[in-house]
């Protein structure tokens, strides 16, 4: 088992290394290098004086061979130095750190709300498959799953915030205060994210729970008199949730994009504005650092889901053990 976990973690680190290389290579392929981008941004349109370009290239270290630059970049990443923004000249670490706490609060609150909602609704519908409640919930899940997050956001703003005047339309958080001190501003963004990310796990859990409920060992347990909450919580839930761990990991990983969208929709003071600004201005150091953080996040989430599946399912454990012995 330990060997399996070690090999999985090693695999995850390797994947991250591959992604890092890919990001570097992609940015190497850019037409014009960072120096050109910086100078163009200065407002000097037209021809750039070659000596100015050469000076800046030297200053940015772009005249060194690609291999050397790659090594120093990776070395910087490993030692926590994420580079310098081309646009503002600030260290990338500072740019990202300035507002990451707000984004993390939003993501964490969403996860804390979404996972129980998905599990409970999925099991609830799965135990009454074909009934009116199940049909209603399943149809709603299918319909909502398809709608892009920003559309859900503006519709919620129009109806809940402007129509019913229940909650703020814009999630303003004064600098230096935590959004947790103003829970009202979190409600609509979190509802929006849960609506986007919960339907898929709900559908998977529902389908698996329904399959298990009709299966031989659950029918046998029923014939032995086991029923109610105990039957669902012990005989059905672990397998159903284990089956949905991958989709749930997908939902959690999908938070990255979801949070970016929702922050834009509600003008929530998170990372999104900096990041999207950096993307549209082609500020590579920021995008590259963010890309590696995002990739690391996605890889870690999926790895955690796979290891959690081992914890939940002895059958999966056996498959791993016999497969590795």
């Amino acid at each position: 088992m330990t060997r399996y976990i070690v090999s999985r973690v090693t695999g995850a680190v390797l994947v991250l290394a591959v992604v890092t290389c890919l990001v570097f290579v992609l940015f190497e392929l850019l037409p014009g290098d960072a120096a050109v981008t910086v100078l163009n941004r200065g407002g000097a349109s037209g021809a750039i004086p070659p000596e100015q370009l050469a000076a800046l290239r030297h200053e940015l270290g772009l005249d060194r061979p690609a291999g050397e630059r790659f090594l120093s970049w990776v070395g910087g990443l490993l030692s926590g130095d994420l580079g310098t923004s081309l646009l503002s000249g600030r260290p990338v670490g500072d740019v990202l750190a300035s507002r990451i706490d707000n984004s993390l609060v939003l993501a964490l609150v969403t996860v804390v709300v979404m996972l129980p909602v998905a599990v409970v609704l999925g099991l609830w519908a799965g135990m009454r498959v074909g009934g009116r409640a199940d049909r209603g919930l399943s149809t709603a899940a299918v319909a909502i799953e398809a709608v892009p997050t920003f559309v859900v956001g503006v519709v919620l703003i129009a109806v809940v915030a402007l129509g019913w005047r229940l909650l703020p339309a814009v999630s303003l958080v004064p600098v230096g205060t935590s959004p947790l001190r103003r829970p009202a501003v979190l409600v609509l963004p979190v509802v929006c994210l849960v609506a986007a990310l919960a339907p898929h796990p709900i559908r998977i859990i529902r389908a698996r729970a329904a399959e298990l409920a009709a299966g031989e060992f659950v029918r046998t347990a029923r014939s032995h008199g086991v029923g109610g909450v105990r039957l669902v919580s012990r005989h059905i839930a672990p397998s159903a949730v284990a089956a949905a761990l991958q989709p749930m990991a997908g939902s959690v990983a999908g938070l990255v994009g979801g949070v970016a969208v929702v922050e834009t929709v509600f003008a929530y003071p998170g990372l999104a504005q900096e990041l999207i600004g950096a993307i549209s201005q082609r500020d590579f150091p920021i995008v590259a650092a963010a890309a590696i953080l995002i990739a690391g996040f996605g890889i870690a989430v999926y790895l955690a889901a796979d290891l959690l599946a081992l914890l939940l399912s002895p059958v999966a454990r056996r498959a791993v053990l016999t497969g590795r012995r």
């Binding site: 074909g130 799953e145 920003f150 559309v151 086991v226 990739a295 939940l312 059958v315 012995r325």
Partner: protein, 747 residues
Amino acid sequence: MRTRLVPAVVAVLVLLVVVIGPFVAPWPPGETVGRPFTGASAEHLLGTDKLGRDVLSRLLHGGWRLLLITAAALTCAYAVALPLGLLAGLRRRADGWVMRPVDVLVVLPWFLLLAVLATVAGRGAPALLVAGALATLPWVVRLVRTATVEEASAGYVEAAVARAEPWRRIAWREVVPNIGPVVLADAGMRLTATLSVVTVGGYLGLGLPPDVPDWALAVATNQSGITLQPWAVLAPALMIVALVVSVNLLVDTRDSRAVPAVARLARSGTGTLNGRMGEDDTVVEVNGLTVRGAEGRLLLEGADLALCAGHGLAVVGASGAGKSTLARAIANSLGPGLVATGDVQLRRPGGGPGRVLGWVPQDPALALNPSLRISAQLRDVLRAHRRPADAAAVRAALSGVGLPADREFMRRYPHELSGGQQQRVLVALALVGDPAVLVLDEPTTGLDPAAVTGVLDLLRNLRARGISLIIVTHALPIVLDLVDDVAVLDAGRIISVLPAAPRTGPAVVQEARRSARPSAAPLLTVHELAAGYGQTQVIADVDLSVCAGECLGVVGRSGSGKSTIARCLVGLHAPSRGTVTLDGTALARRAASRSRAQRGAIQFVFQNPARSLNPRRTVGEELRAPVRIFGTAEEPADLLHRVGLGVELLDRRTDRLSGGQQQRVAVARALAARPRLLICDEVTASLDPQSRQVVIDLLDRLCNESGLAILFVSHDVEAVASLTDRILTVTEGRLVTPRLIQPARTR
């Protein structure tokens, strides 16, 4: 029908807007025609936007780019993903190379792809297109691979593999037509997911330039004026909603129709599970019990039974006669979709409260929860019967059925027990709460001889304690001393209930029809064969030989490894050790490495007749495939004649045949290669009783007339006994000498 109509109409309307819209828009989309953010008026039906442009006109112009980018992204994704998925699903060696990058792509959030691509390529349609395609690609590859792997286990694909056809031909001719529906059903989901990436990219300002009319951009641009002019935001937002929701609902209804609905357990009648006052000592009384399956098919008709306290009843009959259905209906554990009517009354002798009936289903591997320790399962049942659920009670329950009751054993999972131990755990679960009667479905099937003796001793013990028994069995002789009466079922009816005597019941085995079997040098010899999946060994140390013209039976319960043996012989599964020798020549491990003559000499008939033949092809096409490969001069019409079918079936698609006809065509397809050994893997398992008999008679005739050797793998003990010369039993991957089953031909 109605549920699909609404989304279909909405989807068509949205598409009409997208296609016709640009031609009917009242104003030029880019022109400022009024003041910003004015409300609806006769001139501007949806008002104006941030720059005073007509919202309706921009709405009508705003869909086609979105759909075009999405369509292009999907086309790219499918063009790459379909071949990759087929390759990964069919070629084991390519699997890792394809799936590892795909797994990496799955793990990366789509936003990362979009961010990197938009930075590298700059904002614009290409970045959206590539991001959309890359976000879709891995899921399509995974789906196609899964569907292909599923399809690869179908008989017609395996038959093509065993014929050693090239994989591209297999992919194109056998797999693609049959995975089409699965891929199409998923395409709607992929469409909305890709559309989501494309619109979100547009909304975040990473897509088209800001002045282009586009629904996603319109939402972003006009959001600042949502209080003044909500329709400038809501109208494009609702167009997106209408499009994606209608498409998703349309696809979803089709999807749920393809999957058979899981029906709820239903049971009517006045059957009571708990004790009620009774005048006599009858513990089980069944009156007019009828069970219907899907489409009203009768599985059990008007069954009447009564069982007195302390008595035993055996239920016998041919496969498919309704024995298990009767037992399940009494135990209230019918499968999904089955409906029981009639009356089952259960009483405790003396009428006290408490559990009356304990149910022991047939296959312990399925009936025990694989993810709960056996102590936990026992505790749950103890609690359900309001008994103390402590370690002492669990220990007592286990030792009551002769199992070790130490802590280590209690903490085991079902898969850590042997078949006999699993069976005993099932009995222990059924015995919690001291039921008056135990209903057991095939309690000895598939156990090795020692375990059979153990289970029989346990039942004898229970009987002596005054517990009534209802035993469904194929092997009446070995349970005769446990029962007082024998109920005989045939085609869903109880035809007689007789006192148990050594001669009652139908002869489980039929009379020998042949005096002597041809004896010759072994045609096929297997020496120390071992095989497994991954690192799990399934079979070990298998030695057997088949002579020309001999019919050899291989029996064993599901999962015992008997199919793996059969698949090793024909080269569909590579053994890890051991040799298979044909006519004194050792065979290669895989069919593709064997010579054409060797492949033709051993032919395989698959379990599920519906999956044995390619449902998209005609009978004639199926029969001509082996003729083409093996170059035999067999005529499809002759082949059909030999299996007792008419030539009119030649042009019929194979999915229009009945199960029995399909299985006979499958035999004909095998005969087209002029085999000397026919391996039949559970060929009667999915057939109704009549078709089953027809197929058994056909195999018997082939064996008698043409000197064809047959290896008949089955858990259908009666079929094996009536057909074969010799029987081998497989238990946990090893061959053991059979007991208590006598093949007909040697008597």
